[in-house]
């Protein structure tokens, strides 16, 4: 949401005004930050406007982050390595899950790539989850159902 004083100070604004602002990125905005919704606060950032993906927030297209497929990317930093973990990409043309090992440090991602490994071909990211354990197939199915309800496609396009 754009910063507007009367909106900001309105008594109807949530007590957690900062969260209110965080959750309402406008259509077409460059994305400088993706907030980690887990308790681990591993937020992803992109401070260079040229490399920022674009927020899509509209009733026609849905809600997702569009990477340009050229040089847009976000990055996060892991304090500890992930061994035998799981990555789950939810995109506009499919969901992808895979086993993953990641070293501690900074990792780049797009809608179809994490730390230089490809997962599908979509440029439109609906959600990205990273687990530090092997997620059972049953729960991958549950997660898939959930993200499909948020606008992701269930099956990956070839």
């Amino acid at each position: 949401m754009a910063l507007n004083l009367s909106d900001l100070t309105s008594p109807s604004t949530s007590d957690d005004v900062l969260s209110d602002i965080y959750t309402t990125a406008d259509q077409g905005d460059g994305i400088a930050l993706m907030i980690d919704l887990s308790d681990n606060e591993i937020d992803a950032t992109q401070s260079t406007a040229l490399y920022q993906p674009v927020a899509y927030v509209n009733s026609v297209d849905g809600t997702f982050a569009r990477f340009d497929g050229i040089d847009d990317r976000m990055s996060f930093t892991l304090a500890s390595p992930i061994i035998n973990g799981t990555v789950f990409f939810a995109t506009k043309n499919g969901c992808h899950s895979a086993a993953i090992n990641l070293v501690a440090g900074t990792h780049d991602f797009t809608a179809n790539e994490l730390s230089s490994v490809s997962y599908g071909s979509s440029n439109d990211l609906v959600a990205l989850y990273l687990f530090d354990y092997a997620v059972p197939e049953a729960q991958i199915s549950q997660l898939t159902s959930y993200v499909v309800s948020k606008g992701a496609a269930e099956n990956s396009s070839p």
Binding site: S6, L18, I21, A25, A32, S38, A127, L128, Y129, S145
Partner: protein, 437 residues
């Protein structure tokens, strides 16, 4: 790390709906149930550059306050999340809890002139109409001894405890005390000597405040916490004598009629505070034999801590949530202040919010805040304009000489002659001006 709510097979064993593969379908499923290491969801995670604050002082996240340098000579008190009064060391930010909500407490210096808050029985000027005073072993809030008032049996009267103080005609005095709940009993707390003493009546059974009256009837305080009520009462000394009274009258009927008392009753009154020349209560100042003065809070962000978040020479927007105890006090109630009077980002003035750059005042008039209520206010500036808003009001804009953007420190609540007396729930700063300008 294990996923939540699963068996080893990864199945949800609860009764309910299952899909064709035999998997449980919980209508309230959320990905966070799977305990991800990280989770980005476009609906909730995407933040545009403009919306990133560079400063977020949030007392519910205590580490966010580490950037503040606090200066206060001597200890002071605050109320913790359980409603217990605690002692804060010198030179610390006090996070006080108001109805359970953590807020920064900023107060000017104040003195408790009631010299024996540790035990009312030690106070020399007691009236003992039909009761005695003693120290009770039950501590008040884990901090100070409780005082016990024990009644005598009597006919056609009421339990009456009297504390006498000495004040000058024309002075305001503010008393605060804590009284323990007592089922079936009512308290009429009266203060003052002369015409129209102030009075606050409350139901000690749990209903609390009933009414107030007298010269300063609107300036009272009744707050419930745990088994106690915090009661505040202001009086304007109008008598020609210098002696005033704090009268605590306990009744066993809501009509406050005299009654026969055949049993001995005990009442617990503690944490008594007498602030002279004051019209509001401040935090508890323990005493034990002499008056005690609590120093003012002085909170500042300066040096590299300031330049790390502030857009020096550029645009900016401050947002603040605060609860004022007063609408003015000399030169106002400062919320955010730079290095001098010409760098006043936000301050209260007769109920409106203002900003001042040394040349021009931006004001939210006619929109005003209410003392005691949570107020949301914001100021934004670029090189030529200041905008200000209060509780949803449209942005009021005036010209700006550039001073605000050239501040080199941020004082939080404190300022010469206009120290805040109140609480700050949140301060956020964005290094951009708002779209209103």
């Amino acid at each position: 790390m294990s996923p939540a709510l699963t068996t080893e097979a990864g199945l949800f064993p609860q009764a309910g709906l299952y899909n064709r593969a035999g998997l449980y379908l919980r209508s309230g499923f959320a990905p966070l149930d799977l305990n991800p290491l990280l989770a980005y969801d476009a609906e909730s995670s995407m933040v545009a550059p403009f919306e990133q604050p560079t400063l977020d002082l949030d007392p519910s996240n205590p580490s966010s306050l580490d950037i503040i340098t606090a200066t206060r000579a001597g200890v002071a008190t605050y109320t913790d999340a359980n409603g217990v009064v605690q002692s804060a060391s010198a030179d610390t930010v006090r996070v006080d809890h108001v109805d359970g909500v953590p807020m920064i407490l900023v107060e000017p210096a104040a003195t408790n002139r009631f010299t024996h808050s540790e035990g009312v029985n030690n106070y020399s000027n007691l009236g003992k109409a039909n009761c005695s005073y003693s120290v009770d072993s039950n501590p008040f809030g884990g901090f100070s001894a409780s005082c016990k008032i024990t009644s005598n049996t009597f006919t056609s009267s009421y339990v009456r405890a009297v504390l006498q103080f000495y004040s000058v005609s024309g002075e305001s005095n503010y008393f605060t005390f804590r009284v323990k709940k007592k089922s079936g009993w009512f308290l009429n707390a009266q203060s003052g000597n002369g015409t129209s003493p102030s009075s606050v009546i409350l139901d000690l059974s749990g209903a609390g405040y009933i009414s107030s009256s007298g010269t300063t009837a609107s300036s009272y305080l009744v707050k419930e916490f745990n088994d106690y009520y915090l009661v505040g009462i202001e009086t304007l000394q109008t008598g020609t004598t210098t002696a005033g009274l704090l009268n605590l009258q306990f009744y066993n009927n809501s009509s406050l009629a005299n009654y026969d008392l055949d049993t001995v009753e005990e009442f617990f009154v503690t944490g008594i505070q007498w602030e002279n020349n004051s019209t509001v209560a401040t935090s508890y100042i323990p005493t034990s034999g002499s008056t005690v003065t609590r120093a003012a809070d002085n909170l500042v962000i300066s040096g590299s801590d300031f330049t790390d978040f502030f857009n020096s020479g550029g645009d900016g927007t401050f947002y603040a949530e605060a609860v004022f105890r007063q609408d003015n006090n000399g030169d106002g109630q400062s919320l955010l202040y730079g290095q001098s009077l010409n760098y006043r980002f936000l301050y209260g003035w007769d109920g409106v919010m203002r900003a001042y750059d040394g040349a021009t005042i931006a004001s939210t008039i006619p929109t005003m805040f209410t003392v005691g209520n949570l107020t949301r206010t914001a100021v934004t500036f670029n090189s030529s304009t200041i905008g200000i808003s209060l509780d949803g009001s449209s942005t009021s804009s005036v010209s700006h000489n550039g001073n605000l953007s050239s501040a080199n420190e941020l004082n939080i609540g404190n300022a010469p002659n206009d120290n805040l007396n109140g609480h700050i729930k949140r301060i956020i700063y964005w290094p951009y001006h708002s779209d209103d300008l």
